[in-house]
Amino acid sequence: MSQAFSHVTFKNQLKKYYSAYTGGFIAFLLILAAAEQMGLTRKYIGYAFLIATIGLYAMIGVMSRTVEVAEYYVAGRRVPAFFNGMATGADWMSAASFIGMAGTLYLAGFDGLAFVMGWTGGYVLVALFLAPYLRKFGHFTIPYFLGERYGGNIIRSIGIFAAILCSFVYVVAQIYGVGIITSRFTGLEFHVGVFVGLGGILVCSFLGGMRAVTWTQVAQYVILIIAYLTPVVWLGVKHTGIPVPQFAYGATLQKVTELEKKLTADPKELEVRKIFKDKADAANAALKDPSKAYAQNKATIEKKVADLKASNAPADQVAAAEKALATYPKDVDAAKAQWNKDKGLAARAAPPIHHADPFPGKDETARDLARRNFLGIVFCMMFGTAALPHILMRYYTTPNVKEARQSVFWSLFFIFLLYFTAPCLAVLAKFEVYSNLVGSAFAQLPAWAAAWRVVDPTLLNISDINGDGIVQLAEIVLGGDIIVLATPEIAGLPYVVSGLVAAGGLAAALSTADGLLLTIANALSHDLYYKMIDPHASTARRVSVSKALLLVVALIAAYTASLKPGNILFLVGAAFSLAASSFFPVLVLGVFWKRANKWGAIAGMSAGLGVCFYYMTVTYPFLRDMFGVTKPIAEYMWFGMNPISAGVFGLPIGMLTTIIVSMLTPEPSKEVQDLVEHVRYPHLRGDISTEAA
């Protein structure tokens, strides 16, 4: 940082640059909209967005390139609160928040709100327990704080391991999201999409580390929030008549509730649901004795063909019966597979959920279990938020403690803008589906439904189950992601807005991936390489090692993503539970309890991680298979909590273990206790300094 550097001038410059940038981006949208009117095709609009936005991020990356340590690790510690808030917002909101959240709320109703509450309320914990103190400590990484506070390489290593574990799982999900978005809107192949996105991530973080990532994230936030709000505001004006539907969708929610009641009792709906129920029941019955059922069903169909032929039935009836025979599973195993699939149809035989109704269940026990799991998810998402290293790291970049506190406020404010819009969007979309799509004739579907049904049947699948030519709610299968992706079309906006939404989703995924990759690379280069392997490494060497590692980690993550691992959503949730169980107790006790010592922290982190991981292993099907757990899940369940909420057990156990083991071992040294006092006060006259140059 040069002597002549002035924070005030810098802030004013930033305001000027980003206002101009926002104006420029809106102008770009208007030009594209005009071009669309003049006949620019959808494919080229998709390319225009992809090239313009990734090009822009690359430009910021090149302009902010650096080899200085403090610039590379913490953006020179001069990011004003307001801008750090935007950067944190983009860092925080991932592809899952941007594209998936509204869809989850649409499908799960009230119970989906656990994520909305968890992913915002966690910032209260960041503000009260972590951000100001970490900023005062003022170093580069979270494992480093643990190493200094508790002393020694054991706790540092556990910190590195936990940071990488949480971040890697998460970054794979982001890169996967990038691949999906790029391939959907440009027609490139998924694998190509993954690597195009990877290029976009790397130009930033590779060249300029935290500095480049910060300024790109601010730019990405602007794009993603414009992209999210534009179609919702438009749709809101259509339904509620005012441009802030977030405050006025109560009336729409009431209409949705009315429609739910109507659709639950509607005779045509009942008819479709009965068809599904019969199919599922038949499959269940057949699965009891598969070979017998296989032979019986086959005989029935064969007899029908023979009968029809014998009685000289019309040719089309005979043909239909022969077709049924030809498509009949060719052996018992194939039939079993079909029946297992049919069994799942039972879900579609259920009446629509009540959107505003919390904790549905058939009896008091089931409702109580739903409530417990709702609060369990809220708990884990909140404490996970307050423990994920890539978020905490952002508060190292503000100029001082005061700005760090304000910065948490701006972070949550910018995140809040999206999260308090998502429940509104879910209700507006539901109203559209229940009132316009349901009841329309198959020949005259609303334009958006007709289009998406063809584009991607996994997102929208409607089939005329009862053959009446009219769409019933039970005949629609809807993938959550369609809510955000199709909103522009539902609202009747031009295709440019769809392109904008894709660009927003891309911005959300890229910005989060950038922050995560940097966290992993920094933990490896700063904490493992510099602090443990080669403490004499020159600053230039440390930065180059970090850059090299970044490249390697990015490639491994992209490779993992290109394998399309299933369980990705679970894994993201798991990252929160793991972070909450491992980091939260030792970070908070490290500041608020002087007596917490090295052995307490080592035992506490290991116990928290261990319990959390153990619970997931014995209750989550994918991990059970991996580790060969065979006893029924129910025997392992504690209080009926789902595996995603394993942090409910990991965190308290980690906390207790830290406290008990600390009490049993000698108190930390005077230096360490002084360090704790040091981080508690923004500025003590005549105090030590822990800030890294």
């Binding site: 009230f110 503000a127 009336a251 929610l253 505003a356 919390p358 005061k402 949550l412 308090f420 429940p423």
Partner: protein, 88 residues
Amino acid sequence: MELTAKHQEYWRRNLVVTAILLLIWFIATFVEGWYAKDLNSISFLGFPLGFYMSAQGSLIIYVAIIWYYAHYMNKLDVEYNVQEEELQ
């Protein structure tokens, strides 16, 4: 360095405000969540209250808590003379 009584008091006041805000956070999150079904029988701005709180109300409270904490602590710093130098 040795902390003065005034410094100790600053930390105590920090702990008090932290505890109060944490209590509000706890009520807005877990108490509200626990009773969401019962709250739904009350209507607020056309919403069932339980739904409204989880979708928006609690979020607004979180934003307010963090704003208040930053505001309060930044003032407390000055009062106890532990504030940082003004940014130039």
